[in-house]
Amino acid sequence: MSRRVSYKFRLYVAGDTQNSAQAVANLSALCKAHLVDRHEIEVVDVFRQPKRGLADGILMTPTLVKLVPSPTRTIIGTLSQTQPVLQALGLETVVA
């Protein structure tokens, strides 16, 4: 069942600053490993769309928001520690 669930992410980044670039890389690696063909990533650059970040209440960059499946989850940071991220996204059991 869970294998078929498609994931929808929104990643807020601050241009191509180091943290943001790292987050983008980490997220795509994660998706490649666990969510092949069942993910969608929207990248919002708050430098280019500052009003959007404000409207969405984004404090820190990078911020990853898991929109689907519910519940919504927010993870801040470069996503470099894989285990907690997977746990937060509900992907851990799948791996195990």
Partner: protein
């Protein structure tokens, strides 16, 4: 206040906060275009301070502002601020903009992150509304998310740099550990204190069971400021800081006008009454008619048509009125017409600072020209002596600078201070006129004695007078000094009546004497009359005597002639001879 917020004293590089008292302490407000750190424990009023700063900027300084709320939601902040009557809704979103930036509780953190995203967003917002002021409320919340001190430091730098570059006047609020804000041990705050241009510490503590809020400017680059702790209050209109003690004080105008104390003879004793704008202290033991003297003053002020405020700390409104009515002081009509405002405050609630600020607020609201505080010594029971003294000092200062005539009473504890009339607050040194009421126990009775201990600038009597209360009013009477002792009450009456009877006796004696003299006079007059009569008789007798002598002489001479004739003398006289024949 008249002595503050003069435009000339405002430095151009300061952003006024609109917080009464604070702008005085800092000589104009927060550093313009710089960052201020506002620290304080929970519930110390950081958010209100910051919000008021933005509100004032938006409403009065044409400086729009952004409020970044890390802790409370903007909705809650708005509803909390509703009571202050700031009408924040009107200002939103063009002049005041709230950014809800509360981290979600289930926020997961993985790897490092920074604030650049938020700053980019704020940048856009700042440009759009041309914001000049910004508040980061509870920055500590965000900092806590950062993994280590180095990251925290980095983000604070980032934020500070961004603020400086935009020349925004900013307040960053942060929680301090516990009540004592000076015990900030968290590394990031210590670091922040060094970085910012101005640091303000809010303190909320309990001193001897009395809640006490204090504000202290810890540092202020490039400006003078009052370094002491200043008590503050979160009142009806927001944040109010008790004014600076020395800064910005303008000498009150000296007025030579006199106002009556309401007791005729007391006015005479003072050489015409109290000075307008003076502060009068009435001290005395319980029951020496301190309140009554306040009442006469208030009544007289109302009679002149002056707006008056009567603050009673001990008794209820109705009680004060009743008690005063019993000695013929009727205030009810003035209360009804609104000329007199009576405020009764129970000592249990609030502290000295709160009282002072409330008195100020009410006094301003009422437009009072005369102010009565009964008793002012209450302040000492609701605060440490030092604070209370400061409060009393500022009370006098304030009333003076507003040209208000202040009459306050102070209770002297008979047990502890029998001999000297020392006022616990030492207002006596500040007050212009000090009247002391005393009991004189003598011959089994207590009588009220009034003396003027000092009265600046007025010739005043050095005599103790007896104060007499009756249902027709308050009068004073001379006392008798007999053998170095002052006589009052019955003794005075006895002395008076003795004197009265002595006078009467003297009068009667005088009258008697007069009658006697009259009688003597009459007798003499009679004697004079009889003597006169006698004199007249003698005179008549004398005339008669003279006449008799004449006629006898004539008779004699005639007789001689006749004899000559009869002798036929030759030398007869033909005429005579013929006629005789």
């Amino acid at each position: 206040m008249m002595n503050s917020n003069e435009p000339s004293s405002l430095s151009p590089s300061k952003a006024p906060t609109g917080i009464e008292g604070f702008d005085e302490i800092t000589n104009g407000g927060l550093p313009q275009g710089r960052t201020t750190l506002l620290e304080g424990g929970p519930g110390s009023g950081k958010t209100i301070f910051a919000l008021q700063f933005l509100m004032h900027g938006a409403r009065h300084c044409k400086e729009s502002g952004i409020f970044v709320a890390f802790e409370e939601t903007s909705k809650r902040i708005m509803s909390n601020a509703e009571g202050f009557g700031w009408k924040l809704e009107e200002l939103q979103p063009k002049k005041l903009f709230f950014v809800d930036a509360q981290p979600t509780p289930d926020l997961i953190q993985s790897g490092s992150f920074d604030l650049s995203g938020m700053l980019a967003a704020l940048e856009a917002q700042t440009k759009e509304m041309r914001a000049r002021r910004i508040v980061f409320d509870a920055l500590d919340i965000v900092l806590a998310l950062l993994p280590d001190a180095a990251a925290q430091r980095r983000e604070i730098y980032r934020l500070h740099g961004w603020l400086l570059e935009r020349e925004l006047t900013a307040i960053i609020t942060a929680k301090a550990d516990g009540d004592d804000a000076s015990s900030l041990n968290q590394q990031q705050f210590g670091f922040m204190q060094f970085m910012v241009d101005c640091a303000v510490v809010l303190n909320h503590g309990v001193v001897q069971g009395v809640s006490q809020r204090n504000l202290r400017v810890q540092k202020y680059r490039g400006s003078t400021f009052d370094e002491h702790e200043s008590p503050f209050l979160i009142g009806k209109g927001g944040f109010e800081v008790a004014g600076a003690r020395t800064l910005g004080r303008v000498d009150a105008k000296v007025i030579n006008e006199r106002v009556t104390s309401g007791v005729k003879r007391l006015d005479t004793m003072l050489g015409g009454g109290y000075y307008r704008g003076a502060s009068v202290l009435i001290t005395g033991f319980p029951g020496t008619a301190k309140t009554t003297l306040c009442g006469t003053f208030a009544e007289a002020a109302c009679k002149r048509g002056e707006r008056t405020m009567f603050v009673s700390f001990d008794s209820d409104f109705a009680e004060v009125m009743r008690n005063l009515a019993s000695v013929g002081i009727r205030l009810d009509s003035y209360v009804k017409s609104g000329r007199l405002r009576i405020i009764s405050v129970r000592t249990i609630t609030g502290n000295a600072e709160t009282y002072l600020l409330r008195i100020k607020t009410y006094g301003k609201e009422h437009g009072a020209r005369c102010l009565v505080i009964d008793p002012v010594s209450t302040l000492s029971s609701s605060a440490s002596e030092l604070t209370a003294h400061g409060v009393a000092e500022r009370l006098i200062d304030w009333s003076k600078s507003n040209g208000m005539t202040l009459v306050c009473t102070s209770l002297v504890d008979e047990m502890s201070n029998r001999s000297s009339g020392v006022s616990p607050l030492q207002i006596s040194t500040l007050a212009d006129t000090w009247i002391h009421l005393n009991y004189l126990a003598q011959a089994g009775e207590r009588n009220r004695g009034l003396s003027i201990i000092k009265s600046r600038g007025t010739a005043h009597s050095n005599q103790v007078r007896e104060l007499i209360l009756s249902d027709s009013g308050v009068t004073m009477s001379d006392t008798y000094t007999a053998g170095g002792e002052v006589l009052m009450g019955t003794l005075r009456w006895q002395k008076e009546s003795a004197e009265r009877s002595a006078t009467e006796a003297a009068e009667v004696a005088g009258k008697l004497n007069l009658v006697k003299l009259n009688a003597e006079e009459a007798v003499l007059e009679v004697r004079v009359k009889s003597l006169q009569t006698e004199l007249m008789a003698k005179q008549v007798e004398k005339t008669l005597l003279a006449r008799t002598k004449q006629s006898r002489e004539r008779e004699l001479s005639r007789g001689r002639t006749r004899m000559r004739e009869l002798r036929g003398a030759d030398a007869a006289i033909p005429g005579l001879k013929v006629s005789k024949q």
